[in-house]
Symmetry: D2
Subunit: 379 residues, 4 copies
């Protein structure tokens, strides 16, 4: 695994725990953790066999089968392309890359690799929250009919405080974009996953609400100590956009770090001719389902606890009604990826899926610069 | 109408509004308001044709068809019995009476009156909240199967403040009982109404949490200005009891004025072999319904907005999704009562129903005095 | 009162009930109901003294002080301008008019009338739901700090069925616009009311999801029997738009009749630097308030039951915890309007406010025709 | 660790994961899994170093420091007493034992062991859900004032189906009791933990709703295949009881496996003179808090997402808003237990705490047999 921030902890937990609950086709050995700055303590803490500082060395090793990339987005392309070229299966955290050009390069590399059985997958883990997977199943089974409208939003509030420091996630050169790429990407992917459609044109606006923030004195991750000086926020705080899906239906999106009181609210509501589904990541064990084919007096949004043995993934864990948490999606991802490798199945979301999401985000940026004019997503 | 407290306002609103939305078989004339202390201003305010101070005079009048009794419970029996004897149809606010003996007398009078086509009904209006009526319909149609358990509670918090004054509702001689009779009665009636069963034996405890309160200097109703002296609270603040229904199922009850933060939470949840229903008066336009016959992965409590034209009473009011309020039940009650009179149908809840509720409350009091031993409800 | 559709019933209920609960400075006499087709039965049902077929006759009468207009939007301007010219106070249901030009004419007439003490008000009653008024009070008191973002949506689903008939609300010549003007107008007004700001530029899209529907054989109002032939839907089913407020904050809007399972969900969430408020008309007795100045571990959205005596309007009705319904706003409106007339205070929302909303809607239409380009709202 | 059912998986997950997120004072080695029937596969699956079939052998080993007991309740006493006598620290899953006598023996053994620094703890892990711990903190800090009432319930529905098989949990000789001991014990412990008080007298009833069930053909755990024959259910399906706490306040309890649609709803609401708290295990990342000291118009139940770094345990895991699941409590338990051992602090809940809960359950059984008469809990 390359990288050791917050995502490193989450992926490590996935690799460590998944084999205890799912029947893996091959044993998992958490071999090497790669980090530029003192990876040893992280390796020990998270249970990796050894630590290294240069990912190139690890990619070159014969005893490594899978490279899991959890570094910031600006380094994804170089590592992934090299790893795939070296015949390693690659799991790459989202966003696939910071630019469309890099993402295209990666998708091309993944396609080449696939021809020799080497697999690549991008880490939109929220697809693997059981309620989200079950939502996809209901939609795919026609339970809500033709899709009429989608509302997808990812609401956070950690920038509400105008004195919150300028972390790497607020700098365009490192993060690529702000709320749009960090969390808006999830909203787009989840929409495309559950609907089975693609966003084809967009109209939107990006906005930076607090233009300058205190420089970060020290610390990493989502927070850190504020220093005296200030620097410019070079990414968006809020992204509001509308997209037209393959079927012609409109989907309305919002990604923001300024919705006070909303901590991690990735929500999606899909309205169809026969019903609707609604999901909120802040209550990730629940799915709301409205069945419009029931008698008129009995229709209503139904709160389904997605913890039954027959629900996706849920049977491997605890009895009915016992909640799963944020990190379980990483176990599901690890299991699905290894299973896909073993069975020779192309895993999803593919790098092509990830590239498409990047292109949607890119089209939003271009629309925002063009007075929100409708802008085609590249193919 | 006899009486002019808070209930007088609610009943007046019912009589005034109902004929605008429901097709009454006979025209309604709000003739006389009776009150001991200056009924004129109330009569003007609420739209009664005239005011009087002695109910006996009104009961004796030929031009009066219906007597609506909204006085405190200690006067119900005398007025109702006299009115029925005079051939007036009687709508009597709950509780039917402050003692079982009085209630028995009233029920006997109602039975005699019925033989000559004179009708009597007791005012448990919460039966007539559309969601509650619809819950009864679902249960009666077998949609939740055999009833396994009932939880019914009526939670308020207006006595949480130990310095709240000693109103008439806290004195046994006027109010009969405290939380038990005032709000517990609703929980019992709603349980019996929706299940179609009767509570037959009970075990319970009554408790007064704050034994002394400031005397009320002036003011009436639910609140009032506190004076310097203190007096004893002679009714219960909390009633906790369990009852066994006709079918053998257990129902657990709570009536309290000390559940901090709960303002008017009359809630009932009925669990059956095929499903469940849940209702909360604080969200009175909603009914939750769990259908256990759906596929296992799709079961969940469904929030039904009970505002469809096909729902009970709802079609007479506003379009789908437009909320009704507390007072609409009084219109439904007025309409149902007059319709029953016109069609010669015995209206429900009858005085016999009201007597039965009194007997349940009485059995709870006796159980409480007997170390909560199981105590039969009289027949 | 001129007009006798669903809004006629609601306004009649307001005029009838309000004086029973609020102290009106002048007595209210529900004198004449005007309707083109058989107004007599409506007049009787709703309690108007007499009926008439030509509003011009009524406007000319000396014994009429107030004209309440509840006809479809295409007739508002003519009636209102004539009534104001005749010295009648005018309450006009929203939308103020079907075109900006008409609305401008009305606002000008209202301004002229105001100079001689004749008052005009537009009927955005949702401002007068206690929870909405209280939200405005909290925002005005600075409890959520500087406004950072607004999300306002009005979600219905009564057109989800593609076979629902072509009522007058789906025809541009009668209704002016579709979801945009009918319900989007409420979302705009509520946003401007609570924030105290105005929408200044917009970017948006209007969409008709079902282009043809069965002609309406008979019946009026929101539903009706479907005939064999089909006609074109000439208004929008869905309106998605973003607006920039006076302070620069972005507000995102959605008005739709295709959000399956949402019956009457006028929702607004306002995020500020110190807190947030959230409201949903489907639970109109509740307001959610997030206070970001509390200790970090104790912050959360707080469900306030807006039924306390100290809450706006609530004290005039029932005790704490007793729900109000949809129609109570019409009583509040009647009371506020008459009070404004009596005290010589300009009532709000004024015709100028209503005109501004029309201009916002107009800008949305123009933006939609210009590939969603940002478009200034006229001044 | 001794035992390898569902609880074995949960405890293993706790031991495995906790050291990755918490700083343990001593390294953890998951040495031996003991099981009577083929423990090898469980040991491999859950990551134990080796497997054994006789716990006596393991208790005798010098290289073992901690014995974690997750067997059915009838074996707890023998194992725990022997382990403590051998100087092993003991973590014992709840209920402490199936009889009060056994629990007394265990508590005595724990007291003896404590005098030589050997520690014993009982596994009421729900105390260690961050929201529950935080609830305790709020109550201890006086934020809800004097406790006035408690409602604690643990609702499940897995026996609603009358054809569900007769598992060991339905046999008195193995399980000790039914809903009362299995889940009612959690409701009692959580009440005592959060309030800091003890249940001193009780009145209650135990009820078996389905008296006979199909014998279990094969399978273990919560479900299993049904065979043709039937056997008697010898434990309670439902337990309803009221307890009086040390302060005199009443607490009302319900434990049931027949509340249709409720999957794992351990709920507690504590009402105090200054506020209230409410918790539901089905939404375990949330705590509702009502602060009665706020201005009257602003009071309401506040949904706190208990995922802030300053909340108990939460800071060790993921960023704000990222949900924890059922199993995280087992990590917290492992960490707290090892920390208590290392620092020489008596861990809680102690065996004495567990014994007290058993005595409460025993008093409920005796009350049930005595017509629900109030019955003192032994000391």
């Amino acid at each position: 695994m390359v990288g050791h921030g917050f995502m490193g902890a989450a992926h490590s937990q996935g690799w460590r725990v998944a084999p205890r609950f799912f029947d893996f086709p091959r044993p998992i050995d958490m071999a090497v953790l790669v980090g530029r700055h003192d990876p040893d303590s992280s390796a020990r803490r998270w249970g990796w066999g050894e630590a290294a500082t240069d990912w190139r060395d690890v990619v070159a090793r014969d005893d490594i089968d899978i490279i899991d990339i959890v570094t910031p987005g600006d380094t994804h392309a170089e590592i992934a392309v090299a790893a795939l070229a070296a015949g390693k299966h690659v799991l790459c955290e989202k966003p696939l890359a910071n630019t469309v050009a890099e993402a295209e390069e990666m998708a091309a590399a993944a396609e080449r690799a696939a021809s020799v059985g080497v697999r690549a997958m991008v880490g939109f883990t929220y697809r693997r929250v059981p309620a989200a997977t079950f939502a996809r199943d209901l939609v795919a089974a026609g339970r809500i009919g033709d899709i009429r409208q989608v509302r997808a939003e990812y609401l956070q509030d950690w920038l509400t405080d105008a004195e919150a420091p300028l972390t790497w996630r607020l700098k365009k050169d490192l993060a690529g974009s702000g709320a749009l790429g960090d969390i808006g990407a999830h909203a787009v992917d989840l929409t495309e996953y559950i609907t089975g459609q693609r966003v084809q044109t967009v109209s939107g606006i990006l906005e930076t609400l607090v233009a300058e923030r205190p420089l970060l004195a020290e610390g990493v991750g989502l927070s850190g100590t504020a220093a005296g000086e200030r620097g410019a926020v070079t990414v968006d705080d809020v992204a509001l956009f509308t997209g037209r899906l393959s079927s012609g239906a409109l989907a309305s999106f919002e990604a923001t770090r300024f919705r006070t009181g909303r901590k991690n609210a990735l929500r999606i509501e899909i309205s169809g001719s026969l019903g609707a589904i609604a999901f909120d990541l802040e209550r990730l064990n629940e799915l709301e389902f409205y069945d419009g084919t029931l008698p008129g007096t009995e229709q209503g949004f139904r709160r389904i606890l997605v913890t039954e043995p027959q629900h996706p993934y849920a049977g491997a864990w605890w009895p009915t009604g016992h909640a799963l948490g944020y990190e379980h999606g990483f176990s599901h991802q690890a299991y699905d990826f290894v299973t896909a490798i073993a069975t020779g199945t192309p895993p999803r979301p593919s790098f092509a899926d990830g590239l498409h999401v990047q292109r949607v985000l890119d089209a939003v940026e271009r629309s925002s610069e063009a007075s929100s004019a409708w802008t085609a997503v590249e193919n």
